[in-house]
């Protein structure tokens, strides 16, 4: 690590209770020095959803910190077919799973709690994304928004198997049934995807409170119209609340920005485009 990267990660993040819920069961965490960003949507009775999502963010961050300090401390075996960062996130989420399950066993009021998770580890022009449940990652590149994760929900799996079309899925009363969640089983299957995260690409991590209210086009517009990423995050929350705000809403917006500031950045882009 003696070469300075030419880009740096800019980010903005926000979480909001929405307009229908009494408490916010979403949670997010950022460890910019590791390029690590985590988002989790909790579920369970009383306050347990909040506990679960907080535990997931903390456990994932703690493991990645430790693994970065001591790269031999990965949990679980190393699979030659997957990348090191993917293994790291998988191990982190497995640890989060057992933390959530242990806490639920020790405290009866937390029984049945669970959470989704989507976490990104960014390194150079690569984003390693791990997820469980229906929290999503999107990438905006050249004005086009692309969903990078596939929901682990009943309706999404039906669509993938061709048993339901997109429209039926959108109207289904089984939208909230998850096939995988952190805390649901002793064994957890984490999906890892590796993605190109090139200069000027924007990455969005979000909970379903955003995507159930806004269309892809609305999300893309909010990301394109706000150069400042905190403004973009705030704008998305405001739009989702405007569209109903039926659930907690959480967003993390990330950009792989060329390492130049202000006006220089624009000149840089101009040169690059020439």
């Amino acid at each position: 690590m003696n070469t300075e990267p030419f880009t740096e990660i800019e980010f903005g993040a926000q979480s909001d209770c929405g307009r229908a819920r009494e408490n916010n069961e979403d949670c997010f965490g950022a460890v910019p020095e590791l390029g690590l960003f985590i988002l989790s949507d909790g579920m369970g009775g009383q306050a347990s959803g909040e506990v679960a999502s907080r535990m997931v963010c903390d456990a994932v961050a703690a493991h990645c910190r430790e693994a970065a300090d001591n790269s031999s401390s990965f949990g679980g075996g190393h699979d030659a077919e997957t990348c090191v960062l993917g293994d790291r996130l998988t191990a982190a989420i497995r640890l989060a799973n057992s933390a959530v399950r242990c806490a639920a066993q020790e405290n009866p009021s937390l029984l049945g709690m669970g959470a989704t998770v989507v976490a990104a580890l960014l390194s150079d022009e690569r984003a390693t994304i791990a997820h469980v449940g229906d929290s999503r990652a999107y990438r905006l590149r050249n004005g086009r928004l692309e969903q990078l994760t596939r929901d682990h929900s009943f309706v999404a799996e039906q669509v993938q198997q061709g048993l339901m079309n997109e429209q039926e899925a959108a109207q289904s009363n089984l939208q909230n049934v998850l096939m995988r969640a952190v805390g649901a089983d002793a064994e957890i299957q984490v999906e890892v995807t590796e993605e190109l995260f090139a200069a000027d690409d924007t990455l969005l991590l979000c909970s379903d409170g955003l995507t159930k209210e806004l269309s892809d086009a609305e999300i893309a517009r909010a990301l394109e119209e706000n150069d400042d990423l905190q403004a973009a995050a705030d704008c998305l929350i405001k739009m989702a609340n405007g569209a109903g705000g039926n659930d907690n809403i959480t967003v993390i917006v990330l950009r792989n920005a060329p390492k130049l500031v202000g006006a220089f950045q624009r000149i840089g882009r101009w040169f690059k485009g020439s």
């Binding site: 022009e125 049934v177 995807t193 090139a198």
Partner: protein, 244 residues
């Protein structure tokens, strides 16, 4: 007034009172009680009041309607009965038993508190459920078997190698230092296209700075690759090959 509560596992999905008007049950959205599942007929059954009795009639549905475990055509229902349609359960209750002020006032029924709550299925439930709903259930659990890796063979264009085995989860085609398939022509884009190996261990090609084509069809959205497919992007042509 009698009430029907639609449940899926432990989650309450909907509650519908049965007044003087009958409640039709089925997959079609114009039913009084919609059950959105391929195992349910479009117009599956109906529940109605007849001379003070609550009746259930199955419309000759393919997969049947079961009351307390018995397949039925037409029966009378009583509070406590459990009607099974596919993997869903409809519980019959008399709302007088539950002291709910909204009902007595005739005000609109509030949504059941759990309707919007996210629920998760445990492994056993999920497995049973997937087996029941579709015989293709195993595709939700990728086999841990040996991964078959694809190879890209360069048919046309300038690249640093003649072929590439796709062992990474992400393969970038372009001039970028992170690209696996390195384009060496002068004007090649940094990242022309990308190929992802997903959880199902299949490969999907998608656009980056260019939109690639697969057998001539543009991959505006990611396209799943099969053996023999020919990818064209940024002046190169690559054939997908599986070797043993």
């Amino acid at each position: 007034m009698p009430k029907l509560t639609l449940k899926f596992d432990n989650a309450v999905l909907n509650e519908v009172p049965v007044g003087s008007k009958e409640v039709s049950i089925g997959r079609s959205p114009d039913n009084g009680l919609v059950i959105d599942n391929p195992a349910v007929s479009h117009y599956h059954a109906r529940v109605f009041n007849e001379e003070g009795r609550l009746m259930l009639e199955d419309f000759g549905s393919l997969n049947g309607t079961f009351v307390n475990g018995q397949r039925v055509k037409m029966v009378s229902l009583k509070p406590g009965d459990s009607v099974a349609i596919g993997k869903h359960t409809i519980l019959v209750s008399d709302s007088r038993e539950t002291a709910d002020p909204f009902w007595k006032g005739g005000a609109p029924k509030p949504a059941a508190p759990r309707i919007n709550e996210t629920v998760m299925l445990d492994t056993k439930e999920r497995r049973e459920f997937m087996q029941k709903v579709a015989a293709v259930g195993e595709s939700s659990q990728p086999a841990p078997a040996r991964v078959k890796l694809a190879t890209l063979v360069v048919r046309k264009g300038r690249t640093d190698k003649k072929e590439y085995t796709l062992s990474d989860k992400l393969t970038v085609i372009g001039k970028s230092p992170m690209a696996t398939v390195k384009l060496t022509s002068w004007f090649a884009p940094k990242a022309a296209a990308q190929i992802n190996r997903r959880e199902d261990n299949a490969y999907y090609i998608g656009a980056a700075d260019r939109t690639p084509t697969v057998n001539g069809a543009p991959a505006v959205h990611p396209i799943k690759l099969s053996a023999g497919d020919v990818i064209a992007v940024a002046g190169v042509e690559l054939e997908v090959v599986y070797r043993d």
